[in-house]
C-alpha cells in the first residue's frame, strides 16, 4: 500500500557531544507518517524517542547537540535546510508539539488567553483583535474546557493538570497544524483524565485529518491511539509494524520483553517476566546489538555485529533471528 507521506525522516542521526564522549541519542532512524494516522514511538527512558521529536522541530540545543546526518522531509521539503526564520514559520503553523509537563510548559505570569493569542497573532497576523479572541475561545471550547470565557482570563496555576494539558493542546492546535508531535502528553495525568485527553487526540485525527506522532513509554496508551508502532532501543529502531501486528505477534526480543513485563489485567500470573539488567549507558555500549547483553536469545554473533533493520513484508525488525525470512 502506498500512501502519501506528510513527513519522511531518513537516516536521522542526532548526537550530543559531552565531556565524557559522544552520545548517539538518535542513530540512523527512518520513518514516515501519513495524514489521519498516528505513529506511536515507544521505548524506555533514554532510548532517543523525545530527541527524535525535538530533532523534527529543530529544537536541539547546539552545543552540545547536533543533527549530524539525515534528512527530515515535510511535504517533500527538507527541514534541515531551512533557516531560523523559515523554521519559525513552520513551527506552530504546520507542525506543533505538545510537551510532557503541562505544569512547566505554560508561562505562569500570562493568562491562558494571552498565551493562546500569542501564537495566533504570530502565525495569523491578518486577524484583528476581536477575531483572534474569538478563535482562541473556539479553541478552548474545542478541547472541552468548561466556561472558556472565564478560563480565558485565568492564570495557569488556577487550572488543574488535565486542564493545563488541554490548554497546551489548544495552543498547539490554534493554527491548525497538519502534524502534531506529542511527547508523553498524558504521563503526568491521572488515568481518568488521561482517557479524556486520548479521546480528544483521537478525535483530532479523524476530524482535522492531522498526522500525529505519539511518543510514550506506555504500551497501553500506544495500543489505544496508534496505527503504526516504532520501538526504539538505545537510539536505534528495533521494530516497526502496525499496531495489530505488534501486539498480536511481536518479533524483536525487546518488544516481546516489554509486552510481557507489564502486569496483565485479565490474566493471573505468579511472577512477572522481566528483562534482566538495564539499558547500557552510552559509554559502555556493546559492540554488537545493543540489546544482546539483556537478550535471552543472543548468540555470539549478536555480541559482535549489529544487525541491520530487515524488511519482512510491511514490517521491519532489527534482529538476526529473522534473517532470510524477508520473503514472507
Amino acid at each position: 500500500m502506498i500512501r502519501d507521506n506528510l513527513l519522511e525522516v531518513n537516516h536521522l542521526k542526532t548526537y550530543f557531544y559531552t565531556d565524557e564522549g559522544v552520545v548517539k541519542s538518535v542513530d540512523d532512524v527512518s520513518f514516515s507518517v501519513q495524514p489521519s494516522r498516528t505513529l506511536g514511538i515507544v521505548g524506555e527512558s533514554g532510548c532517543g524517542k523525545s530527541i527524535t521529536l525535538l530533532s523534527i522541530m529543530r529544537l536541539i540545543e547546539n552545543p552540545p547537540g547536533k543533527i549530524v546526518a539525515g534528512e527530515i522531509l515535510y511535504n517533500g521539503e527538507n527541514l534541515l535546510k531551512k533557516n531560523k526564520e523559515e523554521m519559525r514559520q513552520i513551527r506552530g503553523n504546520n507542525i506543533a508539539m505538545i510537551f510532557q509537563e503541562p505544569m512547566t510548559s505554560l508561562n505562569p505570569v500570562y493568562t491562558i488567553g494571552e498565551q493562546i493569542l500569542e501564537s495566533i497573532s504570530i502565525h495569523r497576523p491578518e486577524l484583528d483583535k476581536g477575531e483572534a479572541r474569538e478563535r482562541a475561545l473556539a479553541m478552548l471550547k474545542m478541547v472541552n474546557i468548561p466556561m472558556p470565557e472565564k478560563r480565558f482570563n485565568e492564570y495557569p496555576h488556577q487550572l488543574s493538570g488535565g486542564m493545563r494539558q488541554r490548554v497546551m493542546i489548544a495552543i498547539a492546535l490554534s493554527c491548525e497544524p497538519d502534524l502534531l508531535l506529542c511527547d508523553e502528553p498524558t504521563t503526568a495525568l491521572d488515568v481518568t483524565v488521561q482517557a479524556q485527553i486520548l479521546e480528544l487526540i483521537n478525535d483530532l485525527k479523524k476530524k482535522a485529518r492531522a498526522a500525529i506522532i505519539m511518543v510514550t513509554h506506555d504500551l497501553g496508551v500506544i495500543s489505544e491511539v496508534a496505527d503504526d508502532v516504532m520501538v526504539m532501543y538505545a537510539g536505534k529502531v528495533v521494530e516497526f509494524a502496525t499496531v495489530d501486528q505488534i501486539f498480536a505477534q511481536p518479533m524483536h526480543p525487546y518488544t516481546c520483553g516489554l509486552i510481557n513485563c507489564i502486569p496483565s489485567l485479565d490474566k493471573e500470573v505468579e511472577r512477572l517476566s522481566t528483562i534482566p539488567g538495564m539499558v547500557p549507558s552510552f559509554n559502555e555500549m556493546p559492540k554488537g546489538c545493543a540489546f544482546a547483553p539483556r537478550c535471552s536469545r543472543a548468540t555470539q554473533r549478536c555480541k559482535e555485529n549489529m544487525p541491520e533493520l530487515i524488511d519482512i513484508g510491511e514490517r521491519k525488525v532489527r534482529c538476526f533471528l529473522y534473517e532470510g525470512k524477508d520473503t514472507e
Partner: protein
C-alpha cells in the same frame, strides 16, 4: 478490638490539614485529605490502595505510621493503638513498621553511603553491636539483589532501579512485620518495574511481611494485591478481595477507573466510561457522596446524603446508594 487474624485495624482514620485564607482571616479551613477511613489488614496479605493523585492515599499511608499525626481515629497494630503511644514507645515500634518511598532520587540522602543509609533503621536498636550490624547490612543488600561491593558508594552512582533496591534494603533491615509501599515502582521504566515487583513479592514470602501497597496503577495493584481498597477524595469508596473487585466492581468510580486504563488486551473495546471533569478540591468537598459531581449514575439523593459502606459480597464493601 483485638482480632488475632488482623495485624492492623484502622478505625475512622482522619487527617485534615489546616489552611488559612489570609493571615487576618479568623475562619479556619481544612484540606480534608483523609476522611474517616476504616479497614483492617490480615497477617501476611497485601492490601492494595488505589486512587488518583490527591485522593489521600499517600497521606493515609504516612498517617498510619505516624509520620503525620492523625486528626482523629485509631490505628491498632497487633491490638495496640499506636496513635496514643508516647514518642519513645512509638520509636521502638517503628522497627516493626517501615515505609518505601516513591521517588528513588529524593528519598536517599546524597551525603550518606549506601551502607549508612541501609543501617540507619538499626540506630534505634542500641543493643546491636558493630559486627552484627555489618552482617545485617550485608544480608539486606544481598536480599535486595544488590552487589555487596556497593556498600561504600553514594546514591548518585546508582540508577533508579538500583536506588529503589537500596530503599527496599533499608526497609527490610529491621525485619518489620508491616511495610507501607508508597508507589515503589511508579518512577521506574517498565522492564525495571517488573524486577522491582518480583523482588517485593519474593521478600514478602521469605520474610513473612504484610504490605500496604499504594499505587495509581491498577494493573500493578491487580498483580500484587490480595485485597484492594479504592479511595476517592479522602474517602474509602470500595474495598474488596482482588478477584471480586476486578470482575464485579460495585462502585461507579471503580468501574470508571477500570475502564479508563489503556490496556493492550482490551484494545478496541468500545464501551469505555470516560468521566467528565476533574477531581474537586479537597478544600471544598461536594455535599453528600463526594463522587456525585462526576458520577454517571448520580441521582438527587447523592448530593444530599453521604452513602454508608455496605456489604455487597463476601468481604466486599462499597459506599454507594445504588450498589
Amino acid at each position: 478490638m483485638e482480632n488475632e487474624k488482623h495485624l492492623l485495624e484502622v478505625h475512622n482514620l482522619t487527617k485534615w490539614f489546616p489552611v488559612r485564607n489570609s493571615i487576618f482571616s479568623r475562619q479556619q479551613n481544612y484540606v480534608k485529605a483523609v476522611n474517616g477511613v476504616s479497614f483492617s489488614v490480615k497477617y501476611g496479605e497485601t492490601l492494595g490502595v488505589v486512587g488518583e493523585s490527591g485522593c489521600g492515599k499517600s497521606t493515609m499511608g504516612r498517617t498510619l505510621l505516624r509520620l503525620l499525626e492523625a486528626t482523629d481515629g485509631a490505628v491498632y497494630f497487633k491490638g495496640e493503638n499506636i496513635l496514643t503511644l508516647s514518642k519513645k514507645k512509638m520509636k521502638e515500634k517503628r522497627k516493626d513498621m517501615q515505609i518505601i518511598f516513591q521517588d528513588p532520587y529524593a528519598s536517599l540522602d546524597p551525603r550518606m553511603t549506601v551502607g549508612d543509609i541501609i543501617s540507619e533503621p538499626l540506630d534505634i536498636q542500641t543493643s546491636i553491636g558493630r559486627k552484627e550490624r555489618t552482617e545485617k547490612v550485608l544480608a539486606a543488600i544481598e536480599m535486595s539483589g544488590l552487589n555487596p561491593k556497593f556498600v561504600n558508594r553514594y546514591p548518585h552512582e546508582f540508577s533508579g532501579g538500583q536506588r529503589q533496591r537500596i530503599g527496599i534494603a533499608r526497609a527490610i533491615i529491621s525485619r518489620p512485620q508491616l511495610i507501607v509501599c508508597d508507589e515503589p515502582v511508579s518512577a521506574l521504566d517498565v522492564s525495571i518495574q517488573a524486577q522491582g515487583i518480583n523482588l517485593l513479592k519474593d521478600l514478602q514470602h521469605s520474610l513473612n511481611m504484610t504490605y500496604i501497597f499504594i499505587s495509581h496503577d491498577l494493573s500493578v495493584i491487580k498483580h500484587i494485591s490480595d485485597r484492594v481498597l479504592v479511595m476517592y477524595l479522602g474517602n474509602l469508596v470500595e474495598i474488596s478481595p482482588k478477584q471480586d473487585l476486578f470482575t464485579n466492581s460495585a462502585h461507579p468510580y471503580t468501574r470508571a477507573l477500570l475502564s479508563a486504563i489503556p490496556s493492550i488486551e482490551r484494545r478496541g473495546t468500545k464501551d469505555k466510561i470516560v468521566l467528565q471533569g476533574d477531581l474537586p478540591s479537597p478544600l471544598n468537598l461536594p455535599s453528600g457522596c463526594c463522587f456525585h459531581t462526576r458520577c454517571f449514575m448520580a441521582k438527587e439523593i447523592c448530593s444530599q446524603k453521604k452513602p454508608e459502606l455496605q456489604q455487597v459480597g463476601k468481604e466486599h464493601l462499597c459506599a454507594c446508594h445504588f450498589c
